[in-house]
């Protein structure tokens, strides 16, 4: 029986679990599979048995259950002890990769994509990488060409007086998939007197690598970004992606060892990370937006818990647009099933998690769905395509139309 080198601190984290099972109701995968082994508690008990104690052989079912996690963190958010379940799962995947050479192709792809981005690689190479590896199958979006970062100047100054100055972390979602979000962010912030600095050569935030259990690649991204985002004299480092924000704010400093020379820098950056919608809501609009008659539903991304009050900020900011009204969803915080890139490898499961979400949105009569997560946007957009004229966009993109 092989014992994987499961990290001691996360083994201790599993031991903190009181087996209260509160996570069961929050786990989107449990809600589909309806067997407790597919819920968060079942999953970490399994990790303990198979990878910490080695008292259960690593079977195909172990791999399946470890893999069948969206890393959505809904379990952590309801856990009385805030157990870091996503990190336990990531570490388990890492052990499965290292010991069982599992998912090596995905890892290799991510590492190459990381390098590409840092070297200013274009979307064509990224796209050909994706297609060449033929990992994911299914529908794949056409990628932005050139990527967003190569379309903008490193500093964007507002026309009028400068009310604030921010560094903007451009995530891969905006860079390759949704440059319109980035353009909207720059436009809206500039229109509201915010100077935006975009450091050239930003890396991926590292969260996809972490989810696959590739700690080394994630830490490399954290170090590189910490250096690039240490821009002097900024009020905040903004991101328009809740998952990048989760990585930069919560995960990044925790990934580096206590004696890592880059830790102070990563911690300082982490302290300044704010989601862009929330930043602008806090600053307040410089002028009243133009009227826009539209019914909006808000899909709150699962990775919102690192923000102060993302839901409140989003509702406040868009409610300032005359004519814009929010339609309530029956289950405001339900996961859409995307889970970053999870939906690419677990299509059937993701689509069944998405189904009630789509029904909820259509029943509410929304014309536009706003959400801060590019993966949610893509996946909800695919689910809504064809059967409705409902569009999905970042909240700032909706606001950009009124400026």
């Amino acid at each position: 029986m092989i014992k994987g080198p499961f990290p001691e601190d996360l083994a201790a984290e599993i031991d903190r679990c009181t087996q209260c099972n509160f996570c069961l109701a929050a786990c989107p995968v449990y809600r589909e599979d309806r067997v407790e082994s597919a819920g968060a508690r079942g999953r970490i008990d399994l990790v303990k048995a198979a990878l910490v104690e080695g008292s259960l052989p690593v079977s195909a079912r172990v791999k399946e259950l470890v893999d069948r996690c969206l890393s959505c963190t809904n379990c952590t958010q309801v856990c009385p002890g805030s157990l870091r379940v996503d990190e336990i799962v990531a570490a388990a995947r890492s052990v499965l990769h290292d010991t069982y050479r599992f998912a090596l192709a995905e890892r290799a792809f991510l590492r190459r994509l990381f390098k590409q981005r840092a070297q200013g690689g274009g979307s064509k190479t990224a796209a050909s990488l994706l297609r060449g590896l033929n990992l994911f199958g299914g529908r794949w979006p056409s990628l932005a060409n050139p990527p967003f970062q190569q379309r903008v100047t490193p500093v964007i100054r507002p026309d009028g007086p400068v009310r604030a100055r921010v560094a903007y972390f451009v995530g891969c979602g905006v860079n390759y998939l949704y440059p319109d979000t980035g353009e909207a962010l720059v436009q809206v912030l500039a229109a509201n007197g915010v100077e935006v600095v975009i450091p050239p050569g930003l890396h991926c935030c590292g969260l996809p690598a972490l989810a696959l259990g590739d700690h080394a690649a994630a830490a490399e991204a954290v170090r590189a970004n910490a250096a690039l985002l240490s821009v002097p004299d900024v009020d905040a480092v903004v991101t328009d992606c809740t998952s990048c924000g989760y990585m930069l704010k919560v995960k990044a400093p925790a990934l580096l060892a206590m004696d890592d020379p880059d830790l102070p820098r990563a911690a300082a950056v982490s302290g300044r990370i704010v989601e862009a919608t929330e930043f602008l809501a806090g600053l307040g609009l410089a002028r009243e937006p133009r009227r826009r008659n539209v019914r909006v539903a808000y899909h709150a991304p699962c990775h919102r818990h690192w923000c102060d009050d993302l839901v409140g900020a989003t509702v406040r900011l868009l409610s300032a647009v005359p004519g814009t009204g929010f339609v309530p969803l029956r289950e405001p915080y339900r996961c859409c099933g995307a889970g970053g890139a999870f939906f690419l490898t677990h299509r059937e499961l993701s689509e069944s998690i998405r189904r009630p979400r789509i029904e909820d949105i259509l029943a509410a009569g929304a014309e536009v769905v706003v959400t801060q997560c590019p993966a949610c946007r893509w996946f909800l957009g695919q689910g809504l395509a064809g059967q409705s004229g409902v569009r999905v966009m970042h909240p700032l993109a909706l606001l950009a139309g009124s400026h």
Binding site: C20, L24, V35
Partner: protein, 470 residues
Amino acid sequence: MVGEVTVISGLHKDLAALMDRRRVYTGREDLLAYAGDAAPAAGRDGTVLPAAVVVPVDTAEIAAVCRWADRHLAPLVPRGAGTGLSGGATPGPGSIVVDLKRMDRIVEIDRSNLTAVVECGVVTQNLQAAVEAAGLFYPPDPSSLSVSTMGGNVATRAGGPRGVKYGTTKDYVLGLAAVLPDGSLIGYGGKSVKMSSGYDLARLLTGSEGTLAVITGITVRLLALPPERRTILAIFPELDAAAEGVAAVMAQGAGPCALELLDRVLVNCIEDYLRMGLPRDAEALLLIEVDGHPAQVERDVGLIEELCRRYGARSLTVAADAAQAESLWRARRALFPAVSSRAPTVLTEDATVPRSRVPDMVRAIRRIARDNRVEIGVCGHAGDGNLHPAILADRKDPELMERVERTVAEIAREALRLGGTLSGEHGIGTHKASYLEWEFGPRGVELMRRIKKAFDPNGIMNPGKLWIER
């Protein structure tokens, strides 16, 4: 360490003939998740796994599984959300766990009769949300209500903070439908508020912890949703005085819908955890809530303030709005994680006494803690005499666990001596099975065994719970 599965030949094939095979689990990877419940000692580390888990979707499937198990003398363990604190859902070797969470339909909410009919797997909070949307109220509020099932609540007579005014699950069950071990269906009661007909089988099944039958359907009575709610936080320099204050508030008929007590050990645990500015030198903290008609609520708040002052409260906060009330409740809700972070294992006891004996019980718990050299945080639903002493322990320390076990036994004996009961709302399960005779005597327990025999002649229903098998 994960234990081996007791192999029963042909088990998977037989069970898969009774329902969709995708809802029959016999692999250790899946069985492991069903090895225990939230009781600190029960089934930890998966040392005992069930032989199979089945997830039925209707009564017919449950009946078929019961018939099969009865014929093959395979123990059945009905399971809701596995949030129980007494080991009641812990499987023995060779048993079949019946996971009832897919039986989750709210069948009906009847506004004219003030009743609801649910299947056993409906999540408590989902029922509450549904009835509150109709302006109605289902009061029982166990702290696991976000995930616990109505079937599990009924099977354990679950309570919660509101028990002090509204009673517990047992006070809301009007009727039950259940499957007997031989696969036959029984029903008792329904929407009639009054019923004086035959043995009250609904009451008997309520709290039976899965030892008599599988509860499949539940009719509960509902109330009108109280329009007003106010929350008060009182800080006391003396634990005794706070306990006396609790007794006075209840005796004067202020009628709070929650009256929670936390002692200094726990106030400090919570403050370490939340840093919300609780006074670390407070010997006791009372969290009191009143609800009802606005005028009544106003009067009750005044009375409670006056009584708390008379018993020496050094500070009183009445929440101005719902947001402030919520922040006061945050402290109480953080208790579970806050205490869990203080010790590797925490046993939440459930000893309950008549409410006038709360001060005596609090003193006794302190003494027992001292005698056995264990740390105990005293808290609980003091208004109804249901205390939850939190015993800080460590499963990996056998010497400490011996003292902890002695402590649990002494607290149980003391509660009984004061005219109380072994369990207010968690149930007996495996955790207190060896004490049951202390409460009911050998003849009382013998009668219970005979009742079980009448329901379950072959002894397949959740064996090993309530009392020690002979």
